[in-house]
C-alpha cells in the first residue's frame, strides 16, 4: 500500500536507470536489473545472428539441389545456427534476462544473493560468446551443434576447439546464475513470502537452477575431453585410437537433454504468471504446477538415452529410456490442463502477453504430443534424424521458449523500462509469429514422416512443395520477430509513461514504481497474500485504476 502511494508523486524519482549514465556505471554495476538489461541486449544480438543463419538455411532448402551455398558452407550454417541459438540464446534467454530482473523483485529482495557473481556470469557469457563468434568468423565449425565423435575429434577440419572453448566458458555463466538463484530463493524472501506464496515463475526458476548446476558441469567435461582427443590424440571417443563414440553421446545428452528443460521450464513459469494474471484469478492447482516443475527437472535427468535409440546402445537400455520418457510427459500434461482450467470463470483479457501465452499452449501442446511419437521407441526408429525431430524441437524451443520469452518480455516491459509499448503492433506481431511459426514447422512433420533426413543440403525433388511452404512460413515468422525489435525500441522514445501497476495485478513486482528504484523497494515489503490473490482487501485499488485508465 505504501509503495503504491509513493509512486503518485509526480517529480522524477531516482530509479535503477537514471542513477548513473556513464559506461562504467553499467559495466561495474552490481544491480541485477542493469545486468539483466545488458543480458537482454546481448542475447538479442545472438538471436539475430542465429536468425540470419536460419534464413540462410530456409533459402537453400527452397530448391532440392544444393545450389545457393556449397555443401560445406551449408553444413557450417546449420551448425552455427544451432550453436548460437541453443547455447547463447535459448539457454540464457529467460533466466538471465527476465529471471535476473524479476526474481529478486518478485520475492521482495533488494538484489540477488551474490551480486558480484551475477556480474561475473555476465562477463563469462560475453567472453564465451566472443570466443565462439571469433571461431565462427575465422572459418567456422561444421560438426553440427551436437559435436558427434569421431567426426568432431578426428575428421572435421574446422574450429572445433575454439568454438568448444567458448561454450565451455559460457557453461560457467549458466552454473553461476543457477547457484545465485537457488541461494537467493532460499535466503532472501521477504517476510511473509512463504514457499507456497512464491509466484510460479520463481518455482520454475528454482527447478531450472537445479538442472543448470547439476547438468552443465557434465557438458563442460565432455567438451574438455573432445579437446583432449583432438589436440593430444588421446583415445577417448575415436575407436581408431581405442575410444568409444557412443560414450560421447551418453555424456553429451546427459547434459543436453536436461538443457531442453533449462529452456522450457522458465518459459512455463512465465506462462503460469500470464494465464493467472490475465484471467484475474488464482491459478488452478498451484501446488501441482509447482511440483510438476520439480518432477520435470528430476525425471529430465533420466531420459537422455532417448536420443540414442538407433545409435547401437542396448535394446534393453532403449526400452527403459522409452518408458521414462513417457513418464516425464505426464507433468507437462498436468501443467497444460491446469492452465486451461485456470481460464474457467476468470475475467480473461487479451493483451499482447496473454496472446503469447495462449499461443504457447497451442504450440507446446503439439510440441509435447509429437514428443510422444519420438519417445515411442518403435516409431522413433523411423522418425529419428529426420525433419520430424527438427519440427518437434522447434515446436518446443521456439513455440515454447521463444513465445514464453516474448510474452514475458511484453508483460514486464513497462516494469523494466517504465514505458508502454504499442498494444496494436504487439498484437499484430504475436499473431504473425503464431501463424508464421506453424506454416514454417508443421510441414516439417510431414517431411519427416516422408523420410527427409535432417542436415541435408539437397533433398529429393518430390519433397519441394512442402519445403516451399516452410520457407514461406519462415519469412512471415521473420517479420513477426523483427516487429517487436522496432516497436519495443520505439517505445523507449515515444512510449507512454508506464504506471507502477498498469494491469492492476497483485504480485510484488507491481507494488514498486516503474522502473523500480535501485534497491527495488523503498521499504522491505511484508507479504500477507497468497500468490495471484485478486481479492479486494489485497491493496488493489480498482476505482483509482479505472480513473487512471480514463485519463490515460
Amino acid at each position: 500500500m505504501e509503495n503504491i502511494k509513493a509512486t503518485e508523486t509526480k517529480e522524477v524519482k531516482v530509479n535503477y536507470l537514471n542513477n548513473g549514465y556513464s559506461i562504467w556505471s553499467w559495466l561495474f554495476t552490481k544491480d541485477h536489473k542493469r545486468i539483466a538489461i545488458m543480458y537482454l541486449i546481448s542475447i538479442s544480438i545472438f538471436f539475430l545472428i542465429g536468425g540470419l543463419y536460419a534464413a540462410a538455411i530456409r533459402l537453400e532448402l527452397l530448391t532440392p539441389q544444393s545450389d545457393l551455398f556449397e555443401t560445406g558452407t551449408y553444413n557450417k550454417i546449420f551448425t552455427h545456427h544451432g550453436i548460437m541459438m541453443v547455447f547463447f540464446f535459448l539457454i540464457p534467454a529467460i533466466p538471465a534476462t527476465l529471471g535476473n530482473f524479476m526474481i529478486p523483485i518478485m520475492i521482495g529482495a533488494k538484489d540477488l544473493a551474490f551480486p558480484r557473481i551475477n556480474l561475473l556470469s555476465l562477463y563469462l557469457y560475453w567472453l564465451g560468446g566472443i570466443i565462439t563468434l571469433w571461431a565462427l568468423l575465422q572459418g567456422g565449425v561444421d560438426t553440427g551443434w551436437t559435436f558427434y565423435t569421431p567426426y568432431s575429434t578426428t575428421f572435421s577440419n574446422s574450429y572445433v576447439v575454439a568454438a568448444g572453448l567458448g561454450i565451455f566458458i559460457n557453461g560457467f555463466s549458466s552454473i553461476l546464475t543457477g547457484l545465485n538463484f537457488i541461494v537467493t530463493i532460499h535466503t532472501m524472501r521477504a517476510p511473509g513470502m512463504t514457499w507456497f506464496r512464491l509466484p510460479l515463475f520463481v518455482w520454475a526458476h528454482y527447478a531450472t537452477s537445479l538442472v543448470m548446476i547439476l547438468g552443465t558441469p557434465v557438458v563442460a567435461i565432455t567438451i574438455l575431453l573432445v579437446a583432449v582427443e583432438r589436440i593430444a590424440r588421446i583415445g577417448i571417443f575415436d575407436p581408431a585410437i581405442g575410444g568409444d563414440p557412443i560414450l560421447f553421446q551418453h555424456l553429451f545428452w546427459f547434459y543436453s537433454h536436461p538443457a531442453v528443460y533449462i529452456m522450457i521450464l522458465p518459459s512455463m513459469g512465465v506462462i503460469s504468471e500470464l494465464i493467472a494474471n490475465f484471467s484475474r484469478k488464482r491459478i488452478f492447482g498451484y501446488e501441482f504446477i509447482a511440483f510438476s516443475s520439480i518432477a520435470i527437472a528430476v525425471f529430465g535427468f533420466l531420459v537422455w538415452g532417448h536420443h540414442m535409440f538407433v545409435s547401437g546402445q542396448s535394446i534393453y537400455a532403449g526400452l527403459v529410456f522409452s518408458f521414462l520418457t513417457m513418464v516425464v510427459a505426464v507433468p507437462s500434461a498436468i501443467k497444460v490442463f491446469n492452465w486451461t482450467a485456470t481460464l474457467y470463470k476468470g475475467q480473461v483479457s487479451y493483451d499482447t502477453p496473454m496472446l503469447y501465452a495462449l499461443g504457447f499452449i497451442g504450440l507446446f501442446l503439439i510440441g509435447g504430443l509429437t514428443g510422444l511419437f519420438l519417445g515411442s521407441i518403435g516409431l522413433n526408429v523411423h522418425l529419428t534424424d529426420t525433419y520430424f525431430v527438427v519440427a518437434h524441437f522447434h515446436y518446443v524451443m521456439v513455440g515454447g521458449t521463444v513465445l514464453g520469452y516474448l510474452g514475458g518480455l511484453h508483460y514486464w516491459w513497462p516494469k523494466m523500462t517504465g514505458k508502454m509499448y504499442s498494444e496494436f503492433w504487439g498484437k499484430i506481431s504475436a499473431m504473425l509469429v503464431f501463424v508464421g511459426f506453424n506454416l514454417t514447422f508443421f510441414p516439417q512433420f510431414i517431411l519427416g514422416y516422408m523420410g527427409m533426413p535432417r542436415r541435408y543440403a539437397a533433398y529429393p525433388p518430390e519433397l519441394q512443395v512442402l519445403n516451399i511452404f516452410s520457407t514461406a512460413g519462415a519469412s512471415v515468422l521473420g517479420v513477426g520477430l523483427v516487429l517487436p525489435v522496432i516497436y519495443l525500441t520505439l517505445s523507449l522514445i515515444v512510449g507512454k509513461k508506464a504506471p507502477a501497476n498498469p494491469w492492476l495485478l497483485p504480485g510484488l513486482e507491481w507494488r514498486t514504481s516503474s522502473p523500480p528504484p535501485t534497491e527495488n523497494f523503498e521499504e522491505t515489503p511484508v507479504v500477507t497474500w497468497e500468490a495471484y490473490e485478486f481479492s479486494e482487501d489485497n491493496g488493489l485499488d480498482i476505482e483509482k485504476a479505472k480513473r487512471e485508465l480514463v485519463t490515460a
Binding site: 492447482g285 535409440f309 547401437g312 535394446i315 513417457m326 529419428t384
Partner: protein
C-alpha cells in the same frame, strides 16, 4: 522397375516392408490421440476465453483454487495413455531390431560418402542394393571412418553404423520397387549426397541379376584366402586343437571360456575384436602370443574374415547379437 510415385503434396511415404504397417499403425494411433487432445484443449480454451472474457475492467475472477479429483484424473489418464504408447512402441521395436535366424546376410561398409555392399554370393555394389522380395535380409554393418546411418524410409527402419563395431539391421521387403536409401547420421561434407537406391526385385529377377553380375569370390572365399595365405592365420589356428592358437572350426555362436574366467559368446563382434585386439580376450589354456592385426586389415577384409570363420561351422546363435554389440 517401377519408380517411387508421389502425389503433388506427398503426405505419406511408400510402405514396403513386413513391419512397416506396424510402424504406421502406431503412427496413426498417436495421430488420433494428438488430434483428440489438441481439439479438446483448443476448443476448451476458445470456449473459456470467449465465455469468460473480461466483462468489466479490473474485475476479479472467481475464487477457485483447484480440485484434487481433477488433478488425479488428468494425471492418471495421460499416464495410462502414455503406457499404451510405450508398450506399442516396445513391441514394434522388438520386431524391427530382432533379426530372424534364417536371414540372408549382406555386409555393408560405410565410408565418407558412399555405401559399399557385398552379397553372400560375392557381388559388390556401391550406393545401390538389389534384394529379392519376400526374403528376410540382415545387414551386418560397419564403417571405415565416422558415424553413418543406414535409413530406408519405405521400410520404416534405420540403424546407426558405428566405427569399431558391427551393428545390424534387418527387413523383409514386401513390394518390388525402387526405394530411397539415405545416410541419416551427419557425417560431414557430402552427407546429403551419401544415399542411393534399394531395388526390391521378384526372386527370379534377382537370380537373373545375380547371374549377370558374376563375382570371382564370395566373402567367405576371400576370407579363406586371407586366413590361409595372406595373413597366415592358419599357421596357429589349425583344423584341430594342435595349433598354438585355438581352432576356429565350429567356433561361431559357441560360448568361449576366457583365461580370466569370463564366458563370452563368439559372435561377429568377438571375432573382430580378437583380430584387432587379441590381448583383450584370451581363451582359457592359451598363451597371449597373438600379434594385433590392427592397421593391417581393412574393414572389408575383416568382414571377409568374419564370414570365413562363420563358414567353418556354427552353433545355433542366441538372440543376444542384435542392435547392441
Amino acid at each position: 522397375m517401377q519408380q517411387q510415385s508421389y502425389s503433388w503434396v506427398p503426405l505419406f511415404p511408400e510402405r514396403a516392408s513386413s513391419f512397416a504397417w506396424e510402424v504406421d499403425a502406431l503412427y496413426f494411433y498417436l495421430v488420433a490421440i494428438s488430434v483428440f487432445f489438441t481439439v479438446l484443449i483448443v476448443a476448451t480454451i476458445f470456449y473459456f476465453a470467449i465465455r469468460y472474457r473480461e466483462k468489466e475492467k479490473f474485475k476479479s475472477g472467481a475464487e477457485i483454487h483447484g480440485s484434487l479429483l481433477l488433478e488425479t484424473t488428468w494425471t492418471a489418464i495421460p499416464f495410462v495413455i502414455a503406457m499404451t504408447i510405450f508398450l506399442g512402441g516396445a513391441i514394434v521395436y522388438y520386431n524391427q531390431y530382432r533379426p530372424p535366424k534364417d536371414a540372408m546376410e549382406i555386409y555393408v561398409v560405410g565410408k565418407q560418402w558412399m555405401w559399399k555392399m557385398q552379397h553372400p554370393t560375392g557381388q559388390r555394389e556401391i550406393n545401390e542394393l538389389h534384394v529379392p522380395v519376400n526374403t528376410k535380409i540382415k545387414l551386418i554393418m560397419t564403417t571405415e571412418d565416422v558415424l553413418h546411418d543406414f535409413y530406408i524410409p519405405a521400410f520404416r527402419t534405420k540403424a546407426d553404423v558405428v566405427p569399431g563395431r558391427y551393428t545390424t539391421l534387418w527387413f523383409e521387403a514386401t513390394k518390388p520397387g525402387k526405394y530411397h536409401l539415405y545416410c541419416a547420421e551427419y557425417c560431414g561434407l557430402n552427407h546429403s549426397g551419401m544415399g542411393g537406391w534399394i531395388y526390391v526385385m521378384e526372386k527370379e529377377d534377382y537370380e537373373r541379376w545375380l547371374a549377370g553380375n558374376v563375382s570371382n569370390q564370395t566373402p567367405a572365399e576371400a576370407g579363406k584366402e586371407l586366413f590361409e595365405a595372406k595373413l597366415g592365420c592358419a599357421s596357429c589356428h589349425q583344423q584341430n586343437d594342435q595349433g598354438r592358437g585355438p581352432t576356429l572350426v565350429g567356433l561361431f555362436g559357441k560360448e568361449v571360456k576366457l583365461a580370466n574366467g569370463q564366458k563370452v559368446i563368439a559372435n561377429e563382434e568377438y571375432i573382430r575384436n580378437s583380430i584387432l585386439n587379441p590381448q583383450g580376450q584370451i581363451v582359457e589354456g592359451y598363451q597371449p602370443i597373438m600379434p594385433t592385426f590392427k592397421g593391417q586389415v581393412t574393414e572389408e577384409q575383416l568382414v571377409a574374415l568374419v564370414a570365413y570363420i562363420k563358414s567353418l561351422g556354427t552353433q545355433p546363435q542366441s538372440n543376444t547379437m542384435t542392435a547392441s554389440n
